[in-house]
Each structure stands twice: as C-alpha cells, then as structure tokens.
Point group: C2
Chain length 279, copies 2
C-alpha cells in the first residue's frame, strides 16, 4: 500500500462565519480532507487535528467533536493526535489514507478524447452561501443546498470504485473551472463542457441560465469529484457509484489546450469569473 | 518500520511576536515538530505545512521558506504538501518519521530507580524571552539564549542513539515540571530532581538561585530531551551523544508518585509555578 496524506485549514471569517454551528464545523473540517483522499482513490485511515480557539468552551468543543466523529466513525477513522492552541479560531485537519501501490489517481494523466464526469450537484453550496449573504436564513426552501454547504458528503466510496477505471480525478473545492483547470494544465490538454449537462439542484436550475452556470462553475465548496475516463463507464460501475451519489457526464477532453463552455444552442459562453481565490 | 506523526501549530501573539523574523519562524515551526519525533526516537522523513497569512508578502515568504528548508535540508526532509489560507498568522507543520517496529520510545514506561537525564540547557529560551519582555533587545550578552529561543536545535541524532538504551522520553516544550510530569503520571511513578545539577547557560546560572531554578524548570520552549534510563549510560554512548549536544544526569525516578525538587543543602524546594499553559 502507499500512504496518502492531505491537510486542509478552515479559518474563521474566511471559510466560515464567526457564529458557525460547531457541529457543522467539526463535520466539514473532516469532510474537506476526506474529499481530497477520495480524489486520489485512497481509503481514509487516520486523522490529526490542530485546533486554535480563543478560549475553552466545553459546549462548543462537545458539539465540534460530535461533528468530527459523526464522519470519522462512519469511515472507522481514529483521531490519533494533534495540537491545541489559543488564538483566532482556526482548524487544521490532516487525513491519512492508504491506496494499493501504483493505484493512486493523479491529475496529470487525462487523455485527449476522455469523457469528463462529476459526482453530485455543482453550485449547491454556492447557492446556499449566496442566500445567506443576501440575508435569507436557512429554511426549508433550500435545505438541500444548505446541507451541501454545511455538511458536504466526501465521495470516498465513489473514489474507491472509480480508481480502477479512470485516467485523472480532482475534488471540486475551488469551483469546476479552477479545479478541472488543474487537470487540464497538468495534463497539457483542453476540455469542452456542455452547460446544459451541469448537474444542479432544482433551486439553482430555476435561476436565470447564466447566473446558474456561473454559480455551478465557480462558487466552489462543492467537494464533488470531477474525473476523466477513456470511454463511457459501464452500467455496472455506474450503478455501484449511484448507490452513493449521482453521476453526470458533462463534457470531453480536447487537444486544444483551453476550456470551452458550450451553451445549449451550440454557441460558446464566456464565464466572467473563475472561482475561489485563496488571496 | 512504524510511521510516527506529530503536528504543532505556532500562532501569532501566542507563540511568537507579530514582528517575528520570518526566517526564525520557518526554522522554529519545523524544529518543534522534529523535536517531537526525536522524543519518540524516530527518524524524520517528510513534512506538510499549512500556512495562514493576512496577505502574500514575497519577501516574508522567501525568508520563511529559507528558515524551513535550512532545517529540513539538514535532515533531508521533503515538504510534500499542505495548504495556504488567508487569515491571522498561524503556522501548522506536521512531521512524519519512521522508527523500526517496536522501537519507538514511550512515556508510560519509566521504572522506579531509573536515572533521569536531559540534553542541552534548560531555561535558555525562557531567559531570552524574559530579557525581550523586559525591553532588553537581543544582543551579544545573551546570544546563546536568543539562539535557543529563535532557532532551537531538535535533538534528532540523540533520539536515534538513545532509543536503544532508554525506558522513556519526552521533549521539554512546556517546561521540565510539566513534561517530566507527563512521564511520571503515565508511568505511575515519582521523581527526585537535584536542583544543583540542572544544566543552565552562564547567564541563567548567574541569577539568584530560585529565579534561575524557576526559569529552568517552568519556562518551556527548550526542545531538549528528558529521558529515563535503568542505569548510568555507558561512556561510549555518552560520547556519541555529546558529539551533538551536552547530556546531564539531573535526578532519579522514585516510587512515591510525586516530583521532589532537592536544594543543594538537602532541603526540598517548592516551585510556585508549573509551566507553559496552553490556555
């Protein structure tokens, strides 16, 4: 087996609001790391956690722990160590996974003609964040999107199945344009995405087309898998994955070294934004 | 081999001053993690780094990287990944090491009658911090202590040699009383420390006795190794270790489940403080 590690930090005011629900924070800080392991086709095994807090609040810590372990227990992960410090709220998790030697999925191996798929929906977390920023609190009308924002589902099982069939994979944390862009750049290829195929929640799909496409392609925080495969996935494989999450064919790898977004009418669309910027 | 991991976070205003030298910060953020690996008798192999910064300052980043790699290169360590986020300055490093199966050194295995040793000097970093807090800037008069505070030497080589001979070990990051206290509590034993044997720099030893003892025992940030051994170390072993750092016998493990500090006149001394408190 080969050891795979990934480390992600969530910082108050940058990745979450100051009054964020501590259960959700615990859950999400584990989820975003498991999503990175999933994108390599790795089986998660252990976690470490460094927690920085302005003070010790036992209720907060209890809820945070419950959130962490809700997800850690589902995958039978141990929290094996870490650190605790005083300071502005910040959460760093490192996840450790195993993958059979040579089987880990890379980003620089997409081939011209490969089909491009994504799991789940794109833009759901971004839609929920937009609602919250516009002062519309979580409610039943966008419960699905709110769940995606606060408790993203790392596609661990899908990653484990897919690693046998695919040529490259990444998780969509900064938005599809940026993250698929990493695969394109590293593989020295281009891609054509069919905008009408982007999987969206009903609420997002109900928005004006260009608004919906922009949210789906650039808002990030999705933690869905985007991968490339030399030919259409076999129905047996699709059924195995769809036991865990939806799967959508959204485009194809091309040889022209750019990302082309095709509107339903066959015209090209220019997206004016790119995605989540770390700075 | 067994994999050993450790994670330490340094937070601005808590672990370092806002105007801290970025080279020193890079160096120290790696050093404190290697010190933890040294205390387990592990050979360091890889690092991950999560860096949170309010903005991108290329000069700062260059100096920080130079500090990290000054130490990483000495031990032939790769920085294999990490994260970067916007926010209040915070540095989390995880170090990964290897140790032959079953050879890693634990904290719950000190035996009654074992001798207690420490590497290097105690309280040097604390002395330097005290000078800085009293407004005395770094100068030639406490250059040694300032070096201990800003660029602590992780005792990696000593840990690798010692793992063959010792019963327990810890690194002194929160002060000897607290850190030796972890060994005592976990091993269900006590200890007697001879205050006259505490290794100190000349500047620290020149202070009034009780002030010097308190700094040596409680100020933390030393990153020296404290370990227990069933009988006096062989001269050959001592010479091997002293090629890297001084070694001092400071006391003995006892059966009475408390830490006793013995003054040179044979009386017991009560230290009124304990050590670094994370909160």
């Amino acid at each position: 087996m080969q050891l795979v590690v990934t480390m992600d930090t969530l910082v108050e005011n940058q990745h979450f609001f100051p009054n964020a629900n501590p259960y959700d924070l615990g859950y999400k800080s584990v989820a975003v790391n498991l999503s990175d392991l999933a994108a390599m086709g790795a089986e998660p095994r252990w976690l470490t956690l460094s927690l920085t807090l302005p003070d010790i609040n036992h209720d907060w810590l209890r809820a945070f722990s419950e959130g962490c372990f809700a997800l850690a227990n589902r995958f039978n992960l141990s929290l094996i160590g870490g650190d605790i410090s005083k300071g502005p709220v910040s959460i760093t998790v490192q996840a450790h996974g195993l993958v059979p030697a040579g089987k880990f999925v890379k980003r620089d191996t997409a081939g011209i003609g490969d089909l491009i798929y994504v799991t789940g929906c794109l833009g759901a977390a971004g839609f929920a964040l937009k609602q919250i920023k516009e002062g519309i609190q979580d409610n039943i009308d966008f419960r699905d999107e709110s769940e995606c924002l606060h408790r993203p589902q790392p596609r661990v099982e899908a990653g484990l199945i897919l690693r046998e069939y695919i040529t490259s994979m990444i998780d969509v944390s900064d938005g599809l344009i940026i993250d698929l862009g990493h695969i394109l750049e590293l593989s020295n290829v281009g891609a054509e995405i069919m905008l009408k195929s982007l999987p969206m929640t009903e609420n997002l799909a109900a928005l004006q087309n260009e608004t919906a496409w922009e949210i789906a392609l650039t808002s990030g925080d999705d933690y869905e898998l985007c991968f490339t495969v030399p030919e259409k996935l076999d129905q047996t494989v699709i059924r195995k994955i769809e036991a865990f999450c939806p799967l959508t064919h959204i485009g194809q790898i091309t040889g022209d070294n750019r990302l082309t977004l095709m509107k339903p009418n066959g015209e090209e669309w220019n997206c004016t934004t790119s995605g989540y910027q770390h700075f």
